[in-house]
């Protein structure tokens, strides 16, 4: 898979965070980006669009990122979901690992972190 072929879904209730992550992705050549503003929308959107990679916040309205992670992974065990949150507490880290998160990034998300995730995804 070429980097330009990757489709990414960014799920965060903050339009600022969605915009910043999309800008980082654009810099590395990923321009197919889907946005979701809460956990519920993320689950529905994932099932419909099947993106290659997801960046998922944890604290969101309607459905938390951990719940959305669980539901998406139940529907697609191959789903690659990167939890990107300010709340990197022990309990959230454990829950993310238990539910099969691909990676956990502490916000604010840095360009080098996104690059590492993309590279890891391409290798796998």
């Amino acid at each position: 898979m070429k980097i330009s072929d990757i489709t990414v879904m960014i799920c965060d209730d903050s339009p600022l965070v969605r915009k910043k992550i999309a800008e980082i992705l654009s810099k590395v050549g990923i321009n197919t980006v889907i946005n979701a503003a809460d956990g519920e929308e993320a689950v529905n959107m994932y099932k419909e669009k099947k993106p290659d990679l997801v960046f998922m916040d944890i604290v969101m309205p309607k459905k938390t990122g951990i719940d959305a992670l669980r539901e998406i992974r139940a529907a697609d065990s191959e789903a690659k979901i990167v939890m990107a949150s300010t709340v990197g507490t022990q309990s959230n880290l454990i829950a993310a690992i238990k539910e099969g998160a691909f990676e956990f990034l502490q916000k604010p998300v840095k360009e080098e972190d996104v690059l590492k995730v993309i590279n890891r995804m391409l290798k796998e």
Binding site: D13, P15, V17, T86, V87, Q90
Partner: protein, 291 residues
């Protein structure tokens, strides 16, 4: 951080007034400390020696460092070291106040010496504990129950504001057991073994200023995007606080999604505090109520 603490010390001790501090903080981004202020801060020269060299510079076409070395006040090595420290925030505030004529070199030297003496570590105290104790004094919450929580929380907030918005602000007021108002605000609750409601907001200009600086964009309206930017900064602060509690206190906290409010009137109860910070772009308020 030092800028805010030293600025507050000078304000509290009547060395400068709030307008002078505000003017100096606003000018900080445009200036760097001169060698004289850096030499006083390092303890290499007295204010009198610095004044003497400034006088000499009116008649001799030489740089400050060259004259100080020729007079035996500084070594070449000390000059080189001081040149690397000219952009230190702690020096720049003093330099701005001197440049405006609000204080003399002597007043800067005296204030710095006294502040450093009072801010020195007491037996076995860590730097973090000292900062928290200083915050307790600034907030005037030494007799308050949970003063440690409030000091730790506000200290982290101040650090995040410096990191994400800049350090051109001063403490403009602390409110307890009263009603405060904010034109625009974002709210979030922390729940778990510790429960608290936290609000970040301010005047319209202050609110837009927070959002614009955090996003690094030129924002001019209080629309949904602006509110989301302030909300994200609040979320980041609370997320980092939750991580600290998780790592050091074995305390697992949860956060609610942020909400925004307009024309907020808020009662600050006995177990709450509201801090007003005056930025160059406007006033902002942080309110924390422990439940």
């Amino acid at each position: 951080m030092y800028t805010q603490l030293f600025g507050h010390y000078m304000l509290n001790n009547g060395i400068i007034d709030a307008d002078e501090l505000h003017a100096a903080l606003t000018a900080m981004t445009r200036i760097k400390a001169k060698l004289g202020a850096a030499a006083i801060d390092a303890g290499y020269m007295t204010a009198a020696q610095v004044d003497e060299i400034h006088e000499l510079q009116h008649t001799v076409d030489k740089r400050f460092g060259d004259i100080a070395v020729s007079k035996g006040y500084l070594t070449e090595e000390q000059v080189r070291m001081l040149l690397t420290k000219q952009k230190n925030a702690n020096l720049v505030l003093g330099q701005a106040l001197i440049d405006f004529g609000f204080i003399s070199n002597k007043e800067f030297e005296d204030a710095l010496t006294d502040y450093k003496r009072k801010a020195s570590l007491i037996n076995g105290e860590s730097e973090e504990e000292r900062m928290e104790n200083e915050m307790v004094q600034i907030l005037g919450i030494d007799t308050m129950q949970d003063s440690e929580f409030f000091a730790e929380y506000i200290l982290l907030f101040i650090r995040n504001l410096i990191r994400f918005l800049g350090d051109d602000f001063s403490f403009a007021g602390v409110a307890r057991m009263t009603t405060i108002s904010m034109n625009y605000a974002c709210c979030q609750t922390i729940s778990g073994p510790l429960n608290a409601k936290v609000v970040l907001g301010g005047t319209e200009l202050g609110f837009i200023g927070i959002a614009a600086r955090y996003a690094g964009e030129n924002l001019t309206e209080t629309d949904d995007y602006t509110k989301a930017c302030v909300g994200e900064l609040l979320n980041l602060q609370n997320g980092l606080f939750a991580v600290n509690m998780s790592n050091s206190g074995n305390m697992e906290l949860e956060l609610s999604p942020q909400t925004s409010e307009e024309q907020l009137m808020m009662n600050i109860p006995e177990n709450g505090i509201a801090v007003t910070l005056s930025f160059s772009f406007g006033d902002i308020k942080i309110a924390v109520i422990k439940e």
